[in-house]
Every structure is written in structure tokens, then in C-alpha cells.
């Protein structure tokens, strides 16, 4: 069944992913696609040790894109975690296009405007949203599986032109 969850969340591996989504979908593998984490032995070890019992791989976005289609037909469920919309767009530009992209945590930072309690976007995020939509990706805001998935378009984020 492979990619059970492709998620943008600035916290990467954390409780909602491990306990809420993990408890529902039972991933065998979690792929963290993040250039900064992949470039740091220490950060990689921290993310791997954070999820006992699940095989965590920390790779660059480019490496994740290369593996995307092979993983799509692999046995068992897998999660793909991305830190921000820029990383999601890079994944798509490299030819790895998920049908659905879960927005689970893009928290406040200077210059970002509130879209929901846990999604804040700035101008470059909105541009990434337009390009992701144009590539056919459906964007949904949902923190945990027990809450309702809301299409990003329903939250007043402009449609692709």
C-alpha cells in the first residue's frame, strides 16, 4: 500500500505523527525528506531514535524524489515527512507527485498569516500552493486522523490560476 501519509509538518517526527497517525495506519517505514537533517549525523540519529519500532530513513528531498515511485509499490505502509511547502514543491518538481498532501503543522513565524490554528503561510508558501495545485496535488489541512480533513481552498487560500 506504501505512501499512506505524505505530510508537511515543521516538527517532522513527533507525537501526532507517531501516536495518532502511526496508531491508525501502522507504518513500517517513515521517510523524513529534509536536506538539513540529512546533512547532520546528529540530527539524523535523533529522528531515527525518536520512533522506536519503525524504520526511519532521513534523506534529502532529491533522494526522496528518486525513491518515490519504488516506495509507492513497496509492501506495507510508509509515511513521508517534509518540513515545509518549499520542500514539497521541490519533491514535485523532481517528478514525485503525491495525489494528496497533508498539511499537519506549519506554525507561526514572522511574516506568516494564519490559515488555521496550526497552518500559517507567507507569500512564498502561497506561491508553492499554487504550483502544487497546478501539478495536480490536492492539499488538505488535518492535524490528526480523528479531525476532519479540510481542503486548503476552503480556508480562503486562493485557487490556482
Amino acid at each position: 500500500m506504501s505512501w499512506a501519509l505524505v505530510r508537511v509538518d515543521d516538527r517532522l517526527v513527533h507525537g501526532q505523527v507517531l501516536l495518532a497517525w502511526g496508531g491508525r495506519l501502522h507504518p513500517r517505514r517513515i521517510v523524513v525528506a529534509d536536506d538539513a537533517a540529512a546533512g547532520s549525523d546528529w540530527e539524523r540519529d535523533l529522528l531515527v531514535s525518536g520512533a522506536p519500532g519503525v524504520a526511519v530513513q532521513v534523506v534529502t528531498v532529491a533522494e526522496a524524489a528518486e525513491r518515490f515511485s519504488a516506495e509507492a509499490s513497496a509492501e506495507g505502509a510508509a509515511f513521508l515527512l517534509l518540513r515545509d511547502l518549499g520542500a514539497a514543491l521541490e519533491l514535485v518538481r523532481r517528478g514525485a507527485v503525491p495525489a494528496r498532501l497533508n498539511l499537519g503543522g506549519l506554525h507561526y513565524a514572522a511574516g506568516k498569516e494564519k490559515v488555521s490554528d496550526y497552518v500559517y503561510l507567507d507569500a512564498s508558501d502561497r506561491q508553492a500552493v499554487r504550483e502544487l495545485r497546478a501539478a495536480g496535488v490536492s492539499l488538505e489541512v488535518q492535524d490528526v486522523p480523528s479531525s476532519r480533513a479540510v481542503a486548503l481552498a476552503e480556508l480562503g487560500v486562493e485557487e490556482a490560476r
Binding site: 513527533h14 529522528l47 525518536g50 506554525h107
Partner: protein, 122 residues
């Protein structure tokens, strides 16, 4: 810790231990990985003799950000899975042991605190 758990746990501990001082609480609510790490680092950098970060569970954002914030700051350790017995043991012993020894003690206390009382026949 998540939501209001840290402040609630301290309030509960105070009903048993009495007033608690020199213990800061922090919620991960609304924080990104970066901002939570910064909030923890801002506190940890003042600890000259090291100290402990008490968090709710292993693999959660408080653990991950705590480990990142504690990196390179001497004897600062993260203890995960903290419950009320562990917090009370921390309060009673924090002045008696250096951080690493105290962390090991709390780990044992946490394991010992989880027990099952089985039903007995009438």
C-alpha cells in the same frame, strides 16, 4: 509537555509536595520545531550546573526539541515519560544528586510506578 499537562502536573504535585519553586513549565502548543527548540534553549543556557528537561513522551516534539536544545550544553539531560510519581521524586531529590545520577534515579522510579492492581476474589 503537550497542552496544559506540565502546569497541571505541577499543580497536582503541589497538593502533595507543597509550593514548588525553581521549576519552569512550557507547553509545545503552537510551536514549530524551531521556535520550541529556541524556547527551551533560552532557558537551558542559564543553567550553569546543568539540569533536567522533563517531558511527556519519547519521540514527541518536546523530547526532540529538548535533545536538540541540550546539545553541547554540559550536563543537561532529557527525561521522557514523566508522570506524577516521577515529578514528586524529582522535587524531593533534585538537590541531592547531580543531573545524570538524578535522571537515572527518575527512570527507575518511572518504571516502578507503573503497576497493575489485579482484581481479587471476594
Amino acid at each position: 509537555m503537550h497542552a496544559d499537562l506540565a502546569s497541571a502536573m505541577v499543580r497536582a504535585a503541589e497538593t502533595i509536595y507543597g509550593p514548588v519553586e525553581d521549576l519552569e513549565v512550557l507547553s509545545n502548543q503552537g510551536h514549530s520545531r524551531q521556535s520550541l527548540e529556541q524556547e527551551i534553549a533560552r532557558r537551558v543556557e542559564r543553567w550553569e550546573g546543568g539540569g533536567l528537561l522533563l517531558t511527556d513522551f519519547w519521540g514527541g516534539s518536546c523530547h526532540v526539541c529538548g535533545a536538540a536544545a541540550a546539545r553541547g550544553r554540559g550536563e543537561v539531560l532529557v527525561v521522557t515519560g514523566v508522570n506524577l510519581p516521577v515529578l514528586l521524586d524529582y522535587l524531593h531529590n533534585r538537590d541531592l544528586y547531580p543531573p545524570a545520577e538524578l535522571a537515572e534515579r527518575l527512570q527507575r522510579k518511572g518504571v516502578e510506578s507503573l503497576r497493575v492492581q489485579r482484581g481479587t476474589p471476594a
